[in-house]
Symmetry: C2
DNA sequence: CTGTTAGCGCGTTCAA
DNA sequence: TTGAACGCGCTAACAG
């Protein structure tokens, strides 16, 4: 019998010996197996407490073939949207008894591919994957042999669940919101040239649809490219717009970080929001409620996305064989000061 | 021999059989054991590739008593400072070949205690712990039998490493910066009554020291309580200040989130920053560079903190027996528009 | 309701 | 330089 204080030294056998039962009984107790005599349970529990026994989770994982860990791969936690998403995912996972291992891909294509085949996948029972660079052409890379839930754009052709939002409709609603405030020269910042299926492309599509629906001509000069959706990029886009001399009376930031950077750049140029330029973002990060002026945005239902993703993943891990699903989270327009609503 | 494509089915035995060697040799190859004949190594590597072998990390963990996972316990990722810290910790860990399991304590005292004794500690080789509620009285709870690095305030009396910053000096510098701009009625928001050793208490101490050093009388009405250091709290503090009728010409937000909320509340009341009220925050989150006006702050050397914490933890995990260390990260005053510097 | 036993896949002796 | 055998701590069969 080992009664050392060293870590991981106390095993089920020690507990069993002290309680005068078999290891199986100890196992039953710690796993809340239903049919145990109260006296036995208590005896075992006392032995556990006395010895300070903690189950060796590696051994359990080896035996069960499951770790109780799910992976979450996202671009980076410094981006507020992903930090808030991770927060929600961790909460949802905790409520369901699993923990979360976060991997940052840095919005790097190779890194996104690596994460799918990394050794670490052996450590997780499944993966919630939020790709930024991968697209429909990479469907093959996503054909993995473990449970996978893809967040964001839909990538066709494989055995995985999706949790997405309707980017086109949401972007259309955002643009319509600006139009409803009487704006007609609406710039959009953060576009990705050449992309056809990513968030950027879909949101630009929604933007164009809204213009068309209102008979507003599309001016290509109002569509500003911007690679990484960081605040700095938003500021650069505004610099570009202003320097180019294009007239504009509103800006649709393809995400909030871009919009925050844009707000900053406008302010630096003494361009008043919303008087001179109205603005709306996308994601409804917490910041949006605290900027000056507060930032109108699209709330993508982050909490719902996180919970659905965790639920879908756990169902697959549990062996669910249902057809692969696509969950489309609801969005909401959040009018705030920046759009003058 | 199993050549199924099912997950985790290929073992070292399968690889050994295909390569015509023993498992020991395969193990040597995958662990980069130095003395292997090139031909053997190549043979084994080919078998690994052919079979798509991935090592079972649970088995390795069981055998070695180490998982290659470190825990990171922090209040919540929705707080930008902690999101950025987590980002840095994950990067530092990745560079050193380990992964990070994040647990959110929600700044709840019981949750902070639980995290220290949770079963999940069996899953991690050590823990980087950033407590908010625990203080010197809880030193006993921190006496754990696994490697531990404590971030933030120093908690005396146990076997663990600290990575802290000089809160008093940094707060003094922040306050001095406001004084240097000619401000004399400096409010501080986010104070915690009754606390003696936490960040709040130490920073208020630095604030008081700066006033004293400049012969400015201390007005208790300028010290505003605020529990959670969220944006909403900052806004409430300003509401309280304004409603109380106290005169003030500057605000020191004990962290940036408070300062952001305060900026928002001032703006809503048409109080101009920095003309009417100068402001400085603490943490230098990315937001601080993008608000309107940009927010002066104290940069706590987040990157340095993260790297030191990971290094210290890994040294302990590796069995380092050096005396427990206290690393004090450097801070920098970041003057921006909000303080009118 | 509880005990016995046989692996899960790996690293690590000890030999050869 | 490589091979054979054992056991890390646990759970799942199967008894009883």
């Amino acid at each position: 019998m080992s009664i050392s204080g060293a870590r991981g030294t106390v095993t089920m056998h020690d507990v069993a010996a002290r309680a005068g039962v078999s290891v199986k009984t100890v196992s039953n107790v710690v796993n809340d197996y239903p049919h145990i005599r109260p006296a036995t349970r208590e005896k075992v529990q006392r032995a556990i407490d006395d010895l300070g026994y903690k189950m060796n989770l590696s051994a359990r994982s080896l035996r069960q073939g499951r770790t109780g860990i799910i992976g979450l791969a996202l671009p980076e936690l410094s981006l507020p949207y992903f930090a808030e998403l991770a927060d929600s995912v961790i909460r949802a996972a905790e409520a369901r008894g699993v923990v979360v291992l976060i991997e940052q891909t840095g919005a790097d294509r190779q890194h996104e591919l690596d994460v799918l085949t990394s050794d670490r996948r052996q450590l997780t029972d499944g993966l919630i994957f939020s790709p930024l660079e991968l697209g429909p052409d990479d469907a093959d890379a996503l054909k993995v042999d473990y449970p996978l839930v893809v967040l964001g754009e839909r990538i066709f052709g494989g055995d995985w669940d999706h949790v997405t939002m309707n980017n086109v409709d949401a972007a259309r609603a955002a643009t319509q919101h600006l139009i409803d405030q009487g704006r007609r020269r609406i710039a959009v910042i953060g576009a990705h040239a050449g992309e056809t299926m990513g968030s950027a492309a879909l949101r630009v599509l929604g933007y164009q649809a809204a213009l068309a629906a209102n008979g507003i001509p599309l001016d290509p000069d109002l569509i500003v490219e911007g690679g990484l959706w960081h605040r700095a990029t938003g500021a650069e886009c505004v610099a570009h717009l202003v320097d180019s001399g294009v007239e504009f009376d509103a800006i649709f930031g393809l995400n909030d970080a871009l919009a925050l950077g844009a707000l900053h750049a406008l302010h630096a140029r003494d361009i008043t929001v919303p008087k001179d330029v109205a603005m709306i973002g996308f994601d409804d990060i917490e910041d949006a409620s605290y900027t000056s002026p507060t930032l109108s945005s699209i709330s993508p239902g982050r909490e719902e996305i996180a919970q659905e993703a965790v639920d879908l993943l756990l169902a697959r891990i549990a062996g669910g064989e249902d057809p692969y699903r696509r969950v489309i989270a609801d969005f909401t327009v959040m009018p705030r000061e920046s759009s003058g609503a």
